[in-house]
Amino acid sequence: MTFTSLNYLFFLGGVGLLYWLLPLKKQNILLLAVSYYFYAFVEIKLAIILAIYSVMTYLFGLLIERDRSHAKIYLLFSTFGAIGTLGYFKYSNFFISQVTKLISGYGLEINLATLYIIIPIGISFYAFQSLSYVIDVYNKKTNYRNNIIDVALFVSFFPQLLSGPIERSNKLLTQFENKRTYNIENITSGLALISWGFFQKLVIADNVGKICDSIFSADSPGFGLFWTGVLAFSVQIFADFSAYTDIARGSSRILGIELSKNFNNPWLSNSPTNFWKRWHITLSSWLRDYVYIPLGGNRKGTMIAIRNVIIVFLLGGIWHGASWNFVIWGFYHAVLVITETFVKQFQFVLRIPRILKVVLTTILFMFGWSFFRESDISYIVNNGFTGSPNTLFTLHLLVLIFIYTIPMFVFIIMIKKRHIVITRFNSYIMVILNTILGVICVTGILILGTTTTNDFIYYIF
């Protein structure tokens, strides 16, 4: 059941109706049951892995709390279990293929069969989320929870199960424990957010994605079209991922639960560090809190800080997929962040106008997206810097991309001015405004949506 289907809307409507009729304890049981039902739609067998993760998360939290003297051992077991399982599913075939290449490089014949492994969808997200709970219990940043239903729901809550946001127990688990109240303003703003998510996916991401796919399917598009394709991809991936997050947040808000924001207008970033505070915020902050800071952050001198930045970004790269292009992508971003820390010590950097910084950051990140979109590095080298510019055709596609991107800029302006609206109008006006926004999005989808939709890009991560 994909998020952008009528089936999902019927599912959410049914769940919402039943949910608000039930008392708190039963609400959580219902959410857990429907979360597994939702996940079983993808592949029923894979729900077992989700269940194992849930039970392990609960048990290790319990063991750490009850037996503090051996807490470190439990934490290690939990970490190796979560990361090991993730590694087996995501990286086994990559590892086998690399070993085969390495051995055959020495002239030895080896035939290691690749494994028929189905990667459990969303495992990268729920593995990190469950691990955060156990680490937080170990660090006494959160209380261990005795209620297995709540912990299992924290690992498997359906709106954010497949592609995040990666939540922390202090935020999400606490909400599961507290009473939620029905509020029409939340319902309408949830519906508006879902409609905007549908719009971003079906109108912006899928239409721009078609342009991107056409360009990247060409044998030798030339550098003009190649970079147009990369620009199209940077629009597509943002609209696609932001769409998923908004549908997740909207669905959750309808159920009275607030999920974290994953984006904060990344198009307005004025530096690499600033970009990572605005893009996939929950993953960036996870890596900062559970990898970068425990490794020493920037407290142990420049060289250690550089090492830590490289480790964090390589990990972030490989988290996205088992492929060298993601490793290169991660390393590229590490270089950008490290360079920024050195460059910003110069006075002239402070005098550069903000708009110029935004443009420069966008160009640098666009270059990075080429590694993200394309696994064949020779294709990037051959087409990114050589061949024909195809000026007129490039211009044609750039105009089309721009047209599809206009609603995103309108939305950015609306969000910026939102606080004025909220403070000026009462609840009922907000209900009406949210409904108008939602209706405009639905109408836009009917007129400009794609006939066939692709899966969300982040599903494969």
Binding site: I215, L392, L400, V431, T435, T451
Partner: protein, 315 residues
């Protein structure tokens, strides 16, 4: 408390607004069914081909009708429609080829996997722009077989018929872009294709195969054979090969084999010639850009080999 009751009552009103208001543009702009395209009959009549090819992009990337004509010295035409499936081929056979005065044409239908026994008209989501110009109403048989749209799709289309005009509206956007680029909006896709297709990473074949005789009863194939007999059309079905590099599980391979055996005997018993290209040795992975389509640089080569092996020497 008062607010809560009020808000519960407000919810149905909001939901109705979500359903009703987006239907307004449909009322304003409307949608009229596209009429049957009589010109396609006249055009084919003028061309008067003795060899006709039907199929989708699988055919379009494989067969160049001019090359076939040159080799065989037989007038040849391809009526390939990208994204088409048996429902459309049935309509083309009945309402276009069958309506011409061409004497006993030989019609080759190109398909892959088990598409020929699928009760669908398009390989992707149902596309009215492809189907409507081929319909001569009431088309009872076509609509009784076609499983292109679910009841949910039909309901959505009847409330919001503007969905059917999506592609038309998008051509306006293309035309707007043309103002800046002076590139003809209709040639955009052609322009992209002219850069050639690169080979993509292949996914394993996970297609489902159901028992043949269950599929055949629900499919367009019996109707296609019937029309061919009525209109005295010499029908040839061509099952194309997939990219040999696509990995297929043993169980699926066995299901495929039994499917081809059953299809072959069914066609034989109905007097239809069947060409199974799955085991042809001159097709290799380098010719494909994905699991099923041939790269443009191999189109002429493929056409020549196909024509010499299967048209000039049909045995």
């Amino acid at each position: 408390m008062k607010f809560r009751y009020l808000s519960i009552l407000t919810l149905p009103v909001i939901l109705i607004a979500y359903i009703a208001l987006p239907a307004v543009p449909s009322l304003v702009l409307g949608y009229e069914l596209e009429q049957f395209d009589h010109k396609s009959i006249e055009k084919l009549e003028q061309q008067n081909p003795s060899l006709i090819f039907l199929g989708n992009s699988i055919l379009d990337t494989r067969i160049d009708p001019k090359t076939v004509s040159e080799i065989t010295e037989i007038p040849t035409q391809s009526l390939a429609i990208n994204g088409s499936a048996p429902g459309i081929w049935y309509l083309q056979l009945k309402n276009i080829i069958g309506q011409t005065s061409i004497k006993s044409p030989v019609v080759h239908i190109f398909f892959y996997d088990n598409l020929i026994t699928q009760p669908i008209s398009t390989t992707g989501r149902s596309d009215n722009n492809l189907i409507e110009p081929l319909l001569v109403y009431p088309e009872e048989l076509f609509f009784s077989i076609s499983r292109d749209t679910s009841w949910k799709d039909n309901l959505t289309l009847s409330i919001y018929p503007i969905i059917k005009r999506r592609e038309e509206i998008k051509t306006y956007l293309n035309q707007f872009a043309s103002l800046f680029s002076s590139i003809d909006s209709e040639s955009v896709q052609f322009k992209i294709d002219s850069f050639g297709k690169r080979q993509i990473v292949l996914k394993p074949n996970t297609r489902k195969y159901y028992p043949f005789y269950e599929e055949i009863e629900k499919s367009f194939l019996p109707a296609i054979i019937q029309i061919a007999k009525e209109k005295k059309i010499d029908l040839v079905l061509v099952k194309t090969s997939k990219n040999p590099s696509v990995s297929t599980k043993i169980e699926t391979q066995n299901l495929q084999k039994s499917y081809v055996e059953n299809l072959s005997s069914y066609l034989n018993s109905n007097g239809v010639h069947f060409i199974d290209m799955t085991e042809v040795d001159w097709i290799d992975a380098a010719m494909f850009y994905d699991s099923a389509h041939i790269r443009s640089r191999y189109k002429i080569h493929y056409t020549e080999l196909f024509t010499k092996n299967f048209i000039k020497n049909p045995s």
